[in-house]
Symmetry: C2
Subunit: 183 residues, 2 copies
DNA sequence: CCGTAGCGAGAACGACCGTTCTCGCGCAAC
DNA sequence: GTTGCGCGAGAACGGTCGTTCTCGCTACGG
């Protein structure tokens, strides 16, 4: 097993565990056990837990936005692409291991204590905002609806996590539909 | 110092510390130091940390909703009362120690690990939803806008926390205004 | 075939955490 | 005045965590 594979297995295991149980509730030994990578090598690849956390967030950010974009871009251009965001949220919320937005969770747990985590969360949210702004602009929608559309999506993530239901995605979509129609 | 005062001082100190730094980042000894209540009495009043956490959430729930209601009910009845919710959010977000919704934070940190926390968070969010639904009904608004209005508020809380700006409250208010107008 | 460099498994270490225990003191009841 | 109970201060305990170290083993270069 070379460096690259060890890194991938560590990120796979750590991301899943951190997301499912929270960062502080997962020990490095559990990451070792789930990944099959020895502790020694773990610390060669990620010199500390907080760097592992950071790497997990970075990778998740890329994958999450790529999945969203893939779904959106399969829809006809224009207004429908904005609404497709909420359809994708519904699919995400329905996944069996869904436990809310990993970035919001990480911010609540570590944002006050680990500035690198706070930075990663801010970057992720800014990227999502910018992406949605691009979709709205392409659809010819007014700029001032972008922020409420983002808040609907953000609120849907936390509401879906807390309630355990994917329904907030539908409700957010309805709200987004009205906001776009009214403009 | 009697039992009641010890309890109040413990809740004051614990709530502030947990909110500012996260629950797991605060040790019982720091609660003792900040409250001036001895460790022995702390454990007489709250037999475990998770019961202390639970009591903090319960008390915060009551106070938070009372503050919101006090602000809302000082406004003229009807539509303005719904929008007053977002004005109050702005005031809240502007407080110097604002760090997001304590319930969302607690859910992200402990929801997967402590079912009592998850229950308290769900109860708080359900109460907020019901309160907003009552305001919308009193304003003659249609029931189907309630859920998006809740999502706007929820999204504003997390966006304000992560961005460090109170602006999401304004944006949520604009979105809510449009939703109410379009119905 | 020998030396050595790197590896995995797991023990070890130091710090901290939640919780309980000890001990000395003040005070209230008889 | 004595006795005993409740208190605060802080030590102690058992466990866990992040991180490092030890120690055989393996595999490869000369």
């Amino acid at each position: 097993m070379d460096h690259a594979e060890a890194e991938a297995r560590l990120l796979d295991a750590a991301e899943e565990l951190f997301y499912a149980r929270g960062v502080q509730a997962v020990g490095m030994d559990q990451v070792r056990e789930a990944s099959g990578v020895s502790l020694k090598r773990l610390y060669q690849v990620f010199p500390s837990k907080s760097e592992l956390v950071r790497a997990c967030l970075d990778r998740r950010d890329g994958r999450w936005r790529a999945r969203l974009a893939a779904h959106v871009e399969a829809c006809p251009a224009g207004r429908e692409r904005v609404l497709a965001v909420y359809d994708w949220l519904y699919e995400w919320f329905t996944e069996p291991d869904f436990r809310g937005c990993a970035f919001i969770n990480a911010y609540g747990e570590l944002g006050a204590v680990d500035p690198a985590v706070a930075d990663a969360v801010r970057a992720h949210k800014r990227a999502f905002h910018d992406y949605l702004a691009g979709l709205v602009a392409a659809a010819g929608g007014p700029e001032h609806v972008v922020a409420p559309l983002v808040l609907l999506a953000e609120g849907a993530m936390t509401a879906a996590a807390i309630s355990g239901s994917p329904e907030p995605a539908r409700q957010a979509r309805l709200g987004a539909d009205q906001l776009l129609a009214a403009s």
